[in-house]
């Protein structure tokens, strides 16, 4: 005599006949790899755990502290050099995002899948009248509109902005100078203006 073996979504009864069902046991749900705060998101006929699409999270790097740029790990102030941002208490509420920094100077941000609005403001200094442009980079590719900074304080404020889409895995975001200025101060003579007025703000919008 044979018996049917009862199972529900591949779960078989215990010795007492009880079958346990968790969310991920359902035929159209996958909860593998979820982190706290993830949501159940529907896609192509199935539900899976993913960063909460309606969670309005952000990364905020802008302490406003008086810190000399000479303390940063920046390699230079020429076109192509990465600009670093000071913040001793970086706010990172984007699940899965990581901050690369040393001595509170942030050189890059690694972002998970999502759509982001990014704004960056650079306040490097000059010894005489001059200016440089800068732009937001995603995995070494320039994105969005350029920013501009010159010698006088009144020339600060033309920030760089971009919408960035990370479609798979993670992408590295940084800010780079896109022009070279004769009169830009060397790193050890930059002073504190950039730490006081510079910012890098990333808002997750989808």
């Amino acid at each position: 005599m044979s018996h049917n073996t009862i199972s529900v979504n591949a779960q078989t009864p215990s010795a007492t006949g009880a079958i346990t069902q968790a969310l991920g046991d359902l035929s159209d749900v996958s909860t593998s790899g979820v982190n706290d705060g993830y949501a159940l998101v529907y896609s192509s006929g199935a539900w899976s755990g993913a960063p909460n699409p309606v969670s309005n999270t952000a990364i905020f790097i802008a302490e406003g502290a008086s810190q000399a740029y000479s303390g940063s790990g920046a390699s230079g102030v020429s076109s192509g050099d990465i600009v670093e941002f000071y913040d001793g208490n970086v706010i990172n509420s984007i699940s899965g995002a990581t901050i690369t920094s040393s001595s509170s100077w942030v050189s890059s941000v690694t972002l998970p899948v999502g759509t982001y609005r990014v704004r960056a403001h650079v306040a490097l200094t000059f010894s005489a009248s001059d200016s440089v442009k800068y732009q937001i980079y995603q995995d070494n590719i320039a994105r969005g509109g350029a920013g501009f900074v010159g010698q006088d304080d009144i020339t600060m404020g033309n920030y760089a902005s971009a919408f960035v889409i990370v479609s798979s895995g993670t992408d590295v975001l940084d800010v780079r100078l896109t022009s070279t200025a004769t009169n830009i101060n060397a790193i050890n003579a930059q002073g504190t203006r950039h730490a006081e007025y510079g910012y890098l703000i990333i808002e997750r919008v989808a």
């Binding site: 359902l26 705060g37 905020f60 802008a62 706010i91 600060m156 808002e203």
Partner: protein, 223 residues
Amino acid sequence: MSHLTTTVQTQTPSVTGSVSLSLDQLSDVSTSASDGDLLTSSASGWVEATAKPNRAGDYVGIPTAEGYFPTSSAVYSQIYDISGFYSNIRTTTSVPLSVITDTAYCTNQIQVYAQNSKYWYAFSLVAGYKYQLEANLIIPENSSSGAWVRLQWRTSTGTTLGAKGYIYRQSERKNPIFGYVDTTGASGATIVGLTNLGQSGTCGFMQAGTDTPHLQISARIVE
């Protein structure tokens, strides 16, 4: 002879052998959700969570030139600031003072000098959220050329909330000034505004209808 009774999440099959389960009967789901809630992962399993609004507070300027200064002086000075906050942001209590402000999360703090002389100086933010603050401001065009005021978002107790920034006349430059405040550990409302860190030149009091529409300040919940 006894038989085992098969159960699924303590539900026994009906006489026809069917078992009906609802979402919160699953072993790792615990919900008492309200309309609009989401199912999110937590350390204790899947639970409901409330979708937070994108924007909590918003102030915009008014396109009118009527009204009075809070003083006989036509020149702004830090001595006129209210509760230590920069107070040269003229408003009215009629539309469009706060077209988006959700008073469940944020209320504008307004100093009223006269019916048509009212100045915004702070947001009062309810506890339990993290807010991104943004100010897009100018000083009046009748200020002296090159005049500026240097501002920074701070709480009423002086905690700094972001980078410093300059504001100038509309014909010169308009810079956003950002702040970020975490009220998740606060026991009551947190008052946040802009602190005057210094100024240069002659800065007029905000009054003219061509200036006030350039003013916009917001608080956005980011977690």
